[in-house]
Symmetry: C2
């Protein structure tokens, strides 16, 4: 009987995170201080140290290829890591294409996604730094629930600003946060300057990650014992997620396999980076591997947005980051994949795209739920709406292999389960899901917001 999955013992947990910044053929452009338009000087680093604990600010800037994972973090990783690698033979059979499909199941963590891979070290570094209160934003709630889980284990207070449309669509993720002892409110709120500004313009704003980030950062800056935590986009987040790809390489190796195609969905970029970066390191070293990042057509950051300096948030509180962006005021349509509703893309992922190391593809909401239901009905596990974008890309890659008549091995990141996103499946199965188009003129209007910012290069 064929092997269905590969488990690794806890002794195979990676002991270091991998930093792709050490291996890019051309270095990333630096972030810029928006006040000066210059790379961060000491006073700016100090300012960042008011937003994040300084040990994480240092990790954000490190050029080291390998960063040790603290013992305390490994101790908590062991609750769900190493995560299993699966063969999707049921899906293969349905697709009837010359492909083998493997996926890394990140849904086995307590919050059900890859997010605790970075939530746990972030809570740890905050704790070590003496911080006892963390603020954050969340889209679909995967990040907020992961950080709530991590903060609970380190006895840190957690305050979450949840994008309003997701707060309404996904009450169960808010309840997960409550169960882990966190506070969760619908953003925009009237408790911050940033929130009040948005509400004044549009009292019915569905919110966005950019707005929620502004609120959380503002609250972190307001108190000495509080810092802000971001679940994606930043370098240290990408770093933490690389345990996924490192484990996957060991597991594929145990099966005598190496992928021809590596796929992840990308909103801020972290689950994609986590699986892909260790393989991109091989690609830089000369190995042939196609790497695909799947995003929604309603928020086509990489496929339609320019590579430019932009703010990470709505309210100009972050440094200027070099990234694919639709402009920091862009408010994506309320698709169910709330975790992919972000105007920008992680600088590291964006840089990998511009270097030709990553191929972005966009999929519409209907196509992704078609893919997700096919997966659920052949493999059993019900995927998160975000993950459905990766599955749509897997199906497209399988169809391409069929057309080319080439045998291919596909590996993708099953970034989380959809058990608390079932209202979205309900909408899809009853024919009530909207297929959002994003007109070019709307993109151009959104990009007005960055036209006066410094340019890259």
């Amino acid at each position: 009987m064929a092997q269905k999955k590969v488990f690794l013992g806890e002794e195979f947990l990676p002991k270091q995170w991998y930093n792709l910044n050490a291996d890019f053929p051309t270095p990333m452009p630096p972030p810029l201080n928006p006040a000066t338009g210059q790379p961060p000087d000491d006073s700016f680093v100090e300012h960042m140290g008011n937003i994040f604990p300084m040990n994480l600010v240092e990790q954000e800037m490190t050029g080291e290829r390998w960063v040790d994972i603290p013992e305390e973090v490994l101790g908590i990783y062991k609750i769900w890591r190493p995560s299993p690698l699966y063969r999707a033979d049921g899906l293969e059979k349905m697709l009837d294409a010359p492909v083998k499909i493997y996926f890394k199941n990140e849904g086995v963590s307590p919050p059900g996604s890859h997010k605790p891979n970075t939530a746990v070290p972030q809570a740890y570094y905050n704790k070590v730094f003496g911080i006892n209160r963390i603020t954050t934003e969340t889209g679909a709630g995967q990040w907020g629930s992961a950080l709530s889980f991590a903060c609970q284990l380190f006895d840190i207070e957690c305050h979450v600003y949840m994008v309003k449309v997701s707060f309404q669509q996904k009450p169960y993720r808010r309840l997960m946060m409550m169960t882990w002892g966190a506070d969760c409110v619908a953003s925009p709120t009237d408790t911050t300057e940033a929130g009040r500004k948005v509400l004044a313009e549009n009292p019915d704003s569905p919110g966005s990650l950019g707005i929620a980030i502004s609120e959380a950062v503002e609250m972190a800056l307001a108190r000495d014992d509080t810092r802000y935590s971001l679940g994606s986009v930043l370098n240290h987040v990408m770093l933490h997620q690389t345990v996924i790809g490192q484990e996957a390489k060991l597991q594929m190796d145990a099966l005598g396999e190496y992928p021809d195609v590596v796929i992840g969905c990308a909103g801020g970029g972290s689950n994609f980076a986590g699986l892909a970066f260790p393989f991109i390191a091989d690609k830089i070293a000369g190995k042939e591997v196609q790497v695909i990042a799947a995003e929604p057509t309603s928020c086509p950051t990489m496929t339609k947005g320019p590579y430019a300096y932009d703010f990470g948030d709505n309210n100009h509180m972050t440094p200027l980051l070099p990234m694919h962006t639709l402009g920091h005021n862009f408010v994506p349509a309320p698709i169910h994949a709330g975790g992919l509703r972000y105007h920008g893309m992680a600088p590291m992922v964006s840089h990998a795209v511009t270097q030709g190391l990553v191929e972005p593809q966009a999929f519409d909401q209907i196509a992704t739920f078609n893919a997700g239901v096919s997966f659920a009905r052949t493999e059993g596990f019900i995927p998160a709406p975000e993950t459905n974008h990766a599955i749509a890309a897997v199906i497209a890659a399988a169809e391409q292999a069929k057309q080319e008549g080439k045998e291919k091995t596909i590996l993708f990141n099953w970034s989380g389960h959809g058990l608390v996103d079932l209202a979205a499946y309900d909408a899809f199965l009853s024919g009530n899901l909207t297929r959002y188009e994003l007109p070019q003129e709307e993109i151009e209007r959104a990009l007005e917001a960055i036209k006066d910012l410094p340019k890259i290069g």
Copy 2:
């Protein structure tokens, strides 16, 4: 660093199910034909063959100690089995008692509970027998979703009667069933005689497992290509679940451990039996091990109900089963642990109780959610409301060990996660959970229903 969990490779999947009926010191009383008051004769077996496929009827009656697991079933078990065994060191630390606590995590299956352990073989045996449509009932929805998952993989139609109170409280489990292609309706319905009878007496009936069983059996009998499937209570269900305990023994063994106390929650009895029966075999053979079955005070079948012949359903369609029962018309309070709202207890579990092999304990809803939140905040995973009963018993056993000043090793069945039961946690955390008492006179009134039935022995 201490080991957190034990995974077993797929090669360690049990190849046979264990049948405790081969080892009981005193044999179980037989079921009775309600029409004759006698043990089943040929015509009665034939009648049962109209409800269940005959291959499962034969398995129900087998006295063999070991029953081979078909290859096709093993192939699907591998999607989530062997399930991991965890050390609950976070909970241990909180309890500060001289105990080691281990749990078997059955929440890793696609539907999130132990139920597919029997749903998959039942769907398989139906398929082999040429059945292409299965009806069933479900309480909290764990069984209905598990059977939907299994039927989808074997390309069988699945029709689920869901107890109305759970249908309303747990929309997400219904959506899981839909996603796996099943039909799910709120019971009582007006589409069956059984349902109409209940609605005529009480149009606002919250439903019960007994009523839903009657509806599903009636619909199975109405069509030749259709059979009924039961997720608990019956012998073959207990059999299928024993993969849990067999794996747990291997995993405890790998750690050099053997439990002093084995604990499971019990509604119909299947997850409890699955973990406990392989250990009860050891107990019968002379090994010292305490086995505890945890039930709700609002449905205290084992702690308050007599051991007597009773119908498995509300409408007198099943054989008379020898079991601890509160009477087949008993409608339990609408607690959130919907899977524990059953008037009877599996004949095999009931018999083990009467033989002194199992010690039943009852816990009220508030105590169980207290236990569940403690677990979620120390171990990360959020348990199902049913599972919270087992955790309440674990905490009680740890407190007893502390009082006795004895070191103990506790093993319990973490029968499923609570990610789609979060509304119940919301009610608990906001102080809106009801503590149901069950007055003795209400029990006596319910037991009127069985006073004219044949007696055991």
